[in-house]
C-alpha cells in the first residue's frame, strides 16, 4: 500500500463517507485530506480534532489499563480510536502507530444515515495498519 492519498481515497470509498484526513495531533497539521470538512475548511477541522485526540492520548484515564497503576509500557499507543456521534454524523479518529516518533491519526467523517459505524471502525483500523506496514 500506498501512501497517504491512496489511504484517504480508500477511506472515502466507505458507505456514507463525507471527508477523511490524516492529522498530526501535536501540531494540528493536516498531512493529507480528501472529500469535505464539517467546517468547510480542512485545516480548521484538523486543528480542532487534533486537540481532541491529544487529550485522549495524554490523559491518564485513557492511557492506563485499570489493572496496573501505571501507563502501559511498550510502544503501542494505549488509545486505539475515538468516536464522536453528532446528530448528523459520525467521526472516527484512529491513531496510527509508527515505529519512529510521531503523533498522527486518521479522521473519517461519516453521514449519520448512510454511514456504517462498525464497518468504518474496522476498515479504519486496517487502513491505519497498512499505511505504515505496507
Amino acid at each position: 500500500m500506498p501512501g497517504i492519498d491512496e489511504c484517504l481515497l480508500e477511506a472515502m470509498a466507505l458507505p456514507g463517507a463525507r471527508g477523511a484526513s490524516l492529522v498530526d495531533w501535536t501540531s494540528g497539521l493536516a498531512l493529507g485530506t480528501a472529500g469535505d470538512s464539517p467546517t468547510g475548511d480542512h485545516e480548521t477541522t484538523a486543528a480542532e480534532t487534533a486537540e481532541l485526540a491529544r487529550a485522549a492520548a495524554e490523559f491518564d484515564s485513557f492511557t492506563t489499563t485499570g489493572e496496573t497503576s501505571g501507563a502501559i509500557p511498550g510502544d503501542s499507543p494505549p488509545v486505539e480510536d475515538l468516536i464522536v456521534t453528532t446528530r448528523a454524523g459520525f467521526h472516527v479518529l484512529r491513531f496510527v502507530q509508527t515505529s519512529f516518533d510521531s503523533s498522527v491519526f486518521l479522521h473519517l467523517w461519516l453521514d449519520r444515515d448512510s454511514g456504517n459505524l462498525a464497518l468504518a471502525r474496522l476498515r479504519l483500523r486496517d487502513l491505519a495498519e497498512r499505511l505504515v506496514l505496507g
Binding site: 501512501g3 501540531s27 497539521l29 485545516e43 495524554e58 515505529s99 519512529f100 516518533d101 510521531s102
Partner: protein
C-alpha cells in the same frame, strides 16, 4: 482559506507564482522548490529525516548512509528507501512531510538577513510529496500564532529546559513525561528534539504547554549570550549562606512568576 494576508516571504510567493525550481536560501534554513511547489526544506534548528528515522531505531544508521550513497547522486534517496524495502510509502510520507513543515517553520522565521534564490538547485533527498508554497506559508503563520496562544513567552524556546515540580494531582501526558525526563536543566528545546528524534516545532510547542502549566521554568527575559556574561568578580566572593529558607524563596519565586 484565502491567501495569507501578510506573506512570511514575498520572494516565496513570487517564486511559487512563476513556478520556479531551485533553492530559497534564508538565514535559518533553505526551501527547495520544484515548479513552484515545496518539495524539501532543511534548517539547522530542525532534526532532519535521518535523525527522525534513526533515533527511534526505525532505520539503522548504516541503512540511511547506504541509501544516501547509492541514490543521493540521482536525487532519489526517499524513493530508494521505499524501493529497497527499508521503509513503507506511508511512513516515508508521514516522516518527510513532518520534517518539511518543521524545517520550513524555522527557515521562514523573521529575519533581517538576505534571501537568495538559486535557480535549478535541487536536494539529494528527492521529491516525495510536494506541498504548495501557500500551504507552507499558511502553516508557518498558524504555528507562530499557536505558540503565542499557548504561552506568549518566546524566552522558553531557546533557554535550557528546567523542569519544575508538578502540583499535587497535576498530570502530565506520556510524550511530555518523556520530554521532562530528558530535560537535565542544560538542554535546550532544539537539543531535546534531536535527542528524542522529534520535530523541533513539536518540542517547542510541548515546552510552551509545559511552561504554561507551570511544569517548566519560564525565564524572565531571553537568556543572555554566553560571551556577553561578565565574569564573576573574584574580589568579592559571596558570603557562605548557612541556612537558606528554601520554602520562602520558592514562594517568592512563584509569586514573582505569577505576575509575569
Amino acid at each position: 482559506m484565502s491567501a495569507v494576508a501578510t506573506p512570511v516571504s514575498p520572494m516565496l510567493v513570487r517564486l511559487a507564482a512563476e513556478k520556479a525550481t531551485g533553492a530559497l536560501l534564508r538565514d535559518h534554513g533553505t526551501l527547495y522548490l520544484v515548479d513552484g511547489r515545496v518539495v524539501h526544506a532543511e534548517s539547522p534548528a530542525a532534526p532532519g529525516v535521518d535523525v527522525l528515522l534513526t533515533t527511534g531505531g526505525r532505520l539503522p544508521r548504516e541503512g540511511w548512509d547506504e541509501a544516501v550513497d547509492r541514490a543521493g547522486a540521482h536525487r532519489a534517496v526517499g524513493r530508494f528507501l521505499v524501493d529497497s524495502g527499508r521503509l513503507h510509502d506511508g511512513e516515508l510520507e508521514i516522516c518527510h512531510l513532518g520534517a518539511v513543515f518543521d524545517a520550513a517553520f524555522f527557515a521562514l522565521s523573521p529575519t533581517s538577513g538576505p534571501t537568495r534564490f538559486r535557480y535549478g538547485v535541487g536536494h539529494w533527498f528527492g521529491t516525495v510529496r510536494p506541498v504548495s508554497a501557500e500551504a507552507v506559508e499558511r502553516e508557518t503563520v498558524r504555528r507562530r500564532e499557536l505558540l503565542d496562544a499557548v504561552w506568549p513567552y518566546a524566552s522558553v524556546d531557546t533557554a535550557p529546559v528546567v523542569p519544575r515540580p508538578a502540583a499535587p494531582g497535576q498530570s502530565v501526558g506520556v510524550r511530555q513525561r518523556a520530554l521532562l525526563a530528558a530535560a537535565d536543566g542544560r538542554r535546550t528545546p532544539a537539543e531535546l528534539a534531536r535527542l528524542l528524534g522529534r520535530p523541533a516545532f513539536h518540542t517547542l510547542l510541548d515546552v510552551r504547554r509545559l511552561a504554561a502549566a507551570g511544569l517548566v521554568r519560564t525565564p524572565l527575559e531571553p537568556e543572555p549570550e554566553p560571551e556577553s556574561v561578565p565574569p564573576a568578580p573574584a574580589l568579592f566572593p559571596a558570603p557562605p549562606v548557612t541556612d537558606p529558607d528554601i520554602a520562602l524563596l520558592r514562594r517568592l519565586r512563584d509569586a514573582l512568576e505569577a505576575h509575569l
